[in-house]
């Protein structure tokens, strides 16, 4: 049977590990306790004697093809970018949520509605813990949910504490807390690769994935590292000072909103130096396995594009549209949705193409070695 060693050989060494944390989470949740994440979020052996060689960490890794067909069948995946029941452009009606959000605050708005209706006990999200850093977090109260929204900008201490939601960390780590606190119904917010792992765990009916009732996926161009070095380089490219930054957003491009009202756009191709290696090989832009996918792409500022992919997702969305969300009512809402879909499809295709090419290069490179 395959073990973590195989994962290291097949996934980590070639650099394909997304750091989604699924392998570690499962091993800890079921209390075998053989794996852990290092400081950079990379999985490694914690205690190799506790590994029982069950082969499950290997099966649920999104980079391993074992369960792809099954998981796709479970969510009724359709080419080119997954199943789409509905695409809407919307935003939260609650001004508090809206203020804190990156785009329309739809994710937070939906989580709050599910929580208030007592359909969930909590949400697995990320929360800010420092400059450019977020950590995975199990939010169990209304305040914690709101707190997890958007990014932060602290004026009195400079740009101490704003982060980019694309600086993703393994929210799957928060699973550990799930088991301990005995919560039974959760919504999971994550990037496409994290959603993929959750779906694989669900395909195998693994503990603790049965507690995930809803998967909310975020559109993802890749994980960008905003460390000291990268920030310096970025400010050089864009010609701005971090002190003047009000808000950062990534849609089709990286958008930097300055305090004085100016907006600086940097195309993503120029950010390759900041992107995590594994993200070069990722084919999933629009979170194709989620119940609902969200992103700023295709919507105007302050609004979110929302794709409902499963019947559960659609029913939540329909419910929410009556109360906590307002759909955009541009003069031609239908064509706006159509345009947004076209854009999302285009960006997905671009990502898939790049991933394909990168993989071929990687394989060729490995062969020549």
């Amino acid at each position: 049977m395959k073990t973590f060693e195989d994962l290291v050989k097949e996934v980590q060494k070639p650099g394909l590990c997304h750091r989604c944390g699924g392998c570690v989470t499962f091993c800890s949740a079921v209390n075998y306790g053989a794996l852990e994440l290092d400081d950079n979020g990379r999985p490694r052996y914690k205690d190799v004697t506790r590994c029982i060689e069950c082969g499950i960490c290997h099966a649920i890794c999104p980079e391993i093809d074992d369960l792809t067909d099954e998981t796709r069948q479970n969510v009724d995946w359709k080419p080119p970018i997954g199943r789409i029941l509905e695409l809407t452009v919307a935003r939260a009606t609650d001004p508090q949520v809206h203020r804190q959000a990156t785009d329309g605050g739809v994710v937070t708005g939906l989580i709050l509605k599910l929580f208030d209706d007592n359909l969930i006990d909590g949400a697995i999200v990320t929360r800010p813990t420092g400059r450019f850093r977020r950590e995975p977090h199990l939010a169990l109260t209304r305040d914690e949910i709101i707190n997890a929204a958007g990014f932060f900008f602290d004026t009195s201490h400079g740009m101490k504490n704003y982060s980019d939601q694309y600086l993703t960390y393994s929210t799957i780590e928060a699973f550990g807390a799930v088991i301990k606190k005995g919560v039974k119904r959760l919504v999971f917010v994550g990037t496409p690769c994290q959603i993929e792992t959750v779906r694989r765990m669900q395909a195998l009916c693994l503990v603790p994935s049965e507690t995930i009732k809803y998967c909310f996926g975020l559109f993802c161009s890749g994980n960008f590292v905003f460390a000291e070095k990268q920030r310096k380089q970025l400010s050089a490219i864009g010609g701005f000072d971090w002190e003047n930054v009000k808000k950062i957003n990534i849609k089709e491009d990286l958008m930097i909103h300055l305090k004085d009202g100016k907006n600086i756009r940097i195309i993503l191709d120029e950010l390759e130096f900041m992107k995590r290696f594994a993200c070069y090989f990722c084919r999933d832009y629009a979170a194709e396995m989620a119940d609902i996918s969200f992103g700023g792409v295709g919507a105007e500022d302050g609004w979110t594009s929302v794709i409902a992919r499963t019947t559960i997702g659609k029913s939540i969305l329909t419910d929410a549209k009556k109360s906590v969300l307002e759909a955009c009512n541009y003069d031609n809402a239908a064509s706006t949705a159509k345009k947004a879909l076209k854009l999302v499809t285009k960006l997905s295709a671009r990502k898939k193409k790049a991933a394909s090419a990168n993989r071929k290069a990687l394989e060729a490179h490995a062969k020549n070695k």
């Binding site: 049977m1 499962f26 079921v30 029982i52 069950c54 099966a59 693994l206 503990v207 049965e210």
Partner: protein, 944 residues
């Protein structure tokens, strides 16, 4: 379950299916397919580590999908045998070759992935099919919304929601959002009485009563007990013994609402997260009512796998796939030697299933009686440890009984308290002390801690004392070194309002039990010889069937009949509802009985005196042959009941007013009906009234049957059946449908309004208020047939003679209405037929066979042991006053000829204590309740 699980002569073959049966009655070869468990039952200690480590969580079918279990599992904590099993459909190793976590963690090395399907052949003399039923799946009907809303549940799901071991721990909440419901609706007849494509035409017969039970329990579980429970029905069919009283209590005292309206569908959840039920009330108003939850009272069906089994066994099934049985052979299938009992024969409730079970075992056993004792084993009982001279080491086991006790008493505090009591060296709490795993644990703990006294604080000794005593015996302790503190019936059940006070009382009860058990001494059970003959009282169908069943097994049977003829009520009946010939059957039965050399029939008999006890009764019977004294080991009461003579309705005044039985006799003469234009039946005459609150069960079916006979004789005759609820339960529902199709009019009359029978211009005029139009209606009828109540004999002398209880309505009170329907609390006496409760002929025959079967458990042994808790006399103190002899209801004390002092016959003594209390000299003591023990209890109780 535990008793079956550990019985030395019962071999449990789990995960097994019968694949083929060859041979014939008395000599079958059965081929079994044994599916792999993947767990070695000899090694598994049920520690649960495998389930803890199993990574795969799937839907738990036991909790109806409301929560999850692992791929390796036991279905519930009280499972017998308590061994884990791997679900091959979900195990990751068996499907995907991954994992094997269970094997790696199992401390007993019990996991065996090499396990596979095996075949086993066994030789048997008879087969009994107790394959049961399964619940109807309402997903077939879209408009109930069952699959769309989690708050619409089946009755089985609701049972699990209410259960302490269920997904919510006994907390009544609705599945969608865990909110406590305020209003719940029950919809009756889901999948039953339904001839549409997805339903079944029969009545499932249990749902009305179970819905009332669920409603009552739901109310109890709710805050302030003011949950609104509404039951929507077509007819309420609470025909079983005591069920009608239960219905009345729910409606009148507890406020459960009953609304006669068949609900076709449920609206999906509205903005208030409630379901709207639309109905028309009795006044004809259309009402929309919101409910938190809707419970679908689903009926019973036969599972597909059971149908396949029946086909493999060559058993004939009816159109609903139930095993076909005849009314005169209710537990026999179409294949000789293969018997059926319980819900696979027809939808039925627990008491009827248990009667069937005893009957099937009894009939099968009777046909194999020549081989009795040839294949059985006897258990080697471990030697009793000698505890004399050793100070008491008391172990205390405190039961939570799910939430029955733990919900109202602070059990952990009780455990701590127990630990502080003198003599107690061990105390623990159990979720269910009576379960098999606790018995194992108890036996181990007794050995480990060298306990020599045990106290179980739980329910009444009547339920499980013998179970715990067996555990003591298996651990080498004398079974009398045991005491139970009843903290359920005498505490948690009656003091639900004040947890602190209830816990305080439980502490007192526990402390008294401990102080008593400390002084318990080992006692020996005296052994009786059994006289292997039986006395059957009553020569009707029940009595004759019992006698015949016993006689086949060569037990001498005395059949005592009050009148000058055998046959009882059946002489007045012609056909069953399935159109079988009763006359023919009864005369055949009478011939068999009269010609059987093992049966002695005594007619015109009356019982003068009864002496003795189980194993050696002496009954003095007076008849045409003078007085005879019969010696017998068991007594079966089959004294029957009769149709009451109605009061009012112009019965006895107008010759056109007759009862159903009188009609049965007249139906033999066809000409009587050719000229009739109108015939009216009135149901519930004398039943379901304040003076007689039970239902007579058979009358609705009987009226329909007779009405159909009339129609067959004269299609143009208008027949009306005026009813309160139509109760052709079970498979009889088809008869009702057929009657409506033939044009028989069924009109529901308002019981609270005056029902008049008058003579109007020479016509017999029936006046009533109907329930639909709410108008007074009158019918001029040629014949008025009253479905009169079945009544037992008032002040039945048998009760006094055999020391068995009888109710005010003249029906005998069995040991336990649900679990021991043919036994009495008095040992050695059994009951069957109408003497027990109103029932049709097939159920009487089944119960007669059941009573015979119960009797044989006594008759087949050479001896039986009786309780060692008996009274004894201290000769030196006895003043020979004779009070004990006068006061004993069992005739146990007698004067000893040699010493002149009183002596108690141990085998007769029931341990009631009357003599001990009455003895003026204080010379009589009761083993197990010694003066020192009782005084110790009192002292301990009074000391603060």
């Amino acid at each position: 379950m535990v008793e079956v699980g550990r019985h030395i002569n019962i071999e449990l073959l789990t995960l097994s299916e019968v694949s083929a049966v060859s041979g014939e009655e008395g000599n079958f070869t059965v081929k079994l397919n044994q599916h792999p468990r993947y767990v070695d039952v000899d090694k598994c200690i049920a520690c649960g580590l495998c389930a803890e480590k199993c990574p795969r969580k799937i839907s738990n079918e036991y909790n109806q999908g409301l929560n999850k279990r692992k791929a390796i599992y036991i279905p519930y904590a009280q499972a017998v045998p308590l061994k884990y099993a791997i679900d091959a459909n979900h195990c990751m190793y068996l499907i995907k070759s991954k994992c094997k976590a269970c094997q790696k963690f199992c401390p007993a090395e019990a996991i065996n992935f090499e396990d596979h399907l095996t075949e086993k052949m066994i030789d048997v003399g008879a087969l009994v099919l107790s394959a049961g039923s399964c619940a109807y799946d309402p997903a077939a009907y879209d408009m109930y919304g069952f699959q769309k809303s989690p708050n619409i549940v089946t009755s089985l799901e609701f049972e699990r929601i209410l259960a302490a071991s269920g997904p919510y721990g006994g907390h009544l909440v609705r599945p969608l959002d865990n909110k406590e419901p305020q209003k719940i609706a029950w919809l009756q007849c889901v999948g039953s009485r339904d001839v549409h494509q997805n339903g079944h035409g029969y009545c499932s017969s249990v749902c009305c009563t179970y819905a009332i039970k669920e409603a009552i329990l739901a109310k109890e579980h709710s805050k302030g007990k003011n949950l609104d429970a509404a039951i929507f029905y077509i007819d309420i069919r609470t025909c079983g013994k005591n069920f009608e009283q239960y219905y009345n209590h729910a409606r009148d005292q507890l406020g459960v609402r009953f609304i006669k309206s068949r609900i076709p569908g449920i609206d999906p959840v509205n903005e208030n997260q409630m379901h709207v039920v639309r109905y028309v009330d009795e006044e004809g108003r259309r009402i929309k009512e919101e409910f938190d939850m809707v419970v679908l009272s689903v009926g019973l069906t036969v599972d597909k796998s059971v149908v396949e089994l029946a086909n493999r066994l060559n058993i004939r099934l009816d159109q609903y796939k139930y095993a076909r049985t005849g009314s005169f052979r209710p537990v026999e299938t179409s294949r000789p030697g293969v018997y059926v009992c319980g819900a696979f024969a027809a939808p039925k409730d627990i008491p009827a299933s248990i009667i069937d079970a005893s009957a099937a075992a009894g009939v099968a056993g009777s046909r194999l009686s020549t081989a009795r004792w040839t294949q059985t084993r006897t258990r080697k009982i471990p030697l009793e440890t000698d505890i004399r001279g050793i100070p008491p080491n008391i172990g205390v086991f405190i039961c939570c009984c799910g939430t029955n006790i733990a919900g109202y008493i602070d059990v952990p505090a009780l455990v701590d308290y127990a630990r502080g009591l003198p003599g107690v060296v061990y105390a623990e709490e159990n979720l269910f002390s009576c379960s098999q795993d606790t018995q194992h644990k108890m036996a181990q703990i007794i050995k480990e801690h060298q306990l020599n006294r045990v106290v179980v604080a739980a329910c009444t000794p009547k339920t499980h004392e013998s179970l715990f005593q067996e555990t003591l015996i298996n651990s080498g302790l004398n079974k009398y070194l045991f005491e139970m503190a009843n903290i359920r019936n005498q505490c948690s059940w009656v003091h639900k309002e004040d947890k602190d006070k209830a816990t305080g009382k439980a502490k007192d009860l526990l402390k008294m039990a401990v102080s008593k058990v400390m002084m318990h001494e080992p006692l020996a059970d005296p052994v009786l010889n059994i006289k292997s003959a039986a006395l059957v009282i009553g020569g009707g169908v029940s009595g004759m069937v019992t006698a015949k069943t016993l006689a086949i097994q060569k037990f001498k049977t005395y059949l005592i009949e009050k009148s000058d003829k055998l046959g009882g009520q059946a002489r007045l009946l012609r056909k069953t509802w399935k159109n079988e010939n009763i006359r023919q059957y009864v005369s055949g039965l009478m011939d068999d009985v009269n010609s059987d050399e093992n049966i002695e029939v005594v007619l015109n008999a009356s019982i003068k005196e009864v002496e003795g006890f189980i194993g050696s009764f002496k009954t003095t019977v007076a008849s045409d042959h003078g007085e005879q004294v019969f010696e017998h080991g068991v007594t079966i009461i089959a004294s029957g009941a009769s149709e009451s003579k109605p009061e009012g309705y112009r019965y006895g005044i107008d010759p056109r007013v007759i009862t159903n039985m009188e009609l049965e006799c007249r139906l033999a003469d066809e000409s009587l009906f050719k000229s009739k234009e109108n015939i009216v039946f009135v149901q519930c005459v004398g039943s379901r009234i304040p003076e007689r609150s039970y239902c007579s069960k058979v009358c609705c079916t009987q009226s329909i049957k007779n009405a159909l006979s009339i129609k067959a004789l004269n299609i143009n005759c208008e027949v009306y059946i005026l009813y309160r609820d139509m109760r052709p339960y079970g498979l009889r529902e088809d008869l009702y449908r057929g009657a409506r199709e033939k044009g028989i009019h069924f009109i529901r009359y308002d019981f609270d309004q005056k029902f008049e029978v008058r003579e109007k211009n020479g016509d017999l005029n029936v006046g009533f208020v109907d329930c639909v139009f709410k108008r007074k209606m009158e019918i001029n009828t040629d014949l008025l047939v009253l479905a009169s109540a079945i009544v037992g004999e008032k002040d039945n002398p048998l009760a006094q003679l055999y020391k068995v209880p009888v109710s005010a309505s003249g029906f005998f009170e069995e040991a336990h209405v649900k679990l021991r329907p043919s036994d009495f609390a008095t040992e050695g006496v059994f009951v069957c037929g109408l003497a027990h409760a109103p029932k049709p002929i097939d159920e009487s025959i089944a119960q007669a066979q059941a009573a015979a079967s119960r009797a044989v458990t006594v008759l087949s042994s050479k001896s039986v042991s009786v309780s060692g808790m008996v009274a004894y006399v201290e000769d030196r103190i006895c003043s020979a006053c004779g009070i004990c002899i006068a006061i004993c209801p069992y005739g146990a004390p007698k004067f000893n000829d040699k010493t002149g002092k009183a002596k108690i016959e141990q085998t007769l003594c029931k341990g009631c204590g009357l003599c001990c209390a009455s003895c003026r000299s204080g010379a009589i003591f009761l083993k197990g309740f010694e003066t020192s023990q009782i005084l110790n209890m009192i002292e301990t109780c009074l000391v603060n």
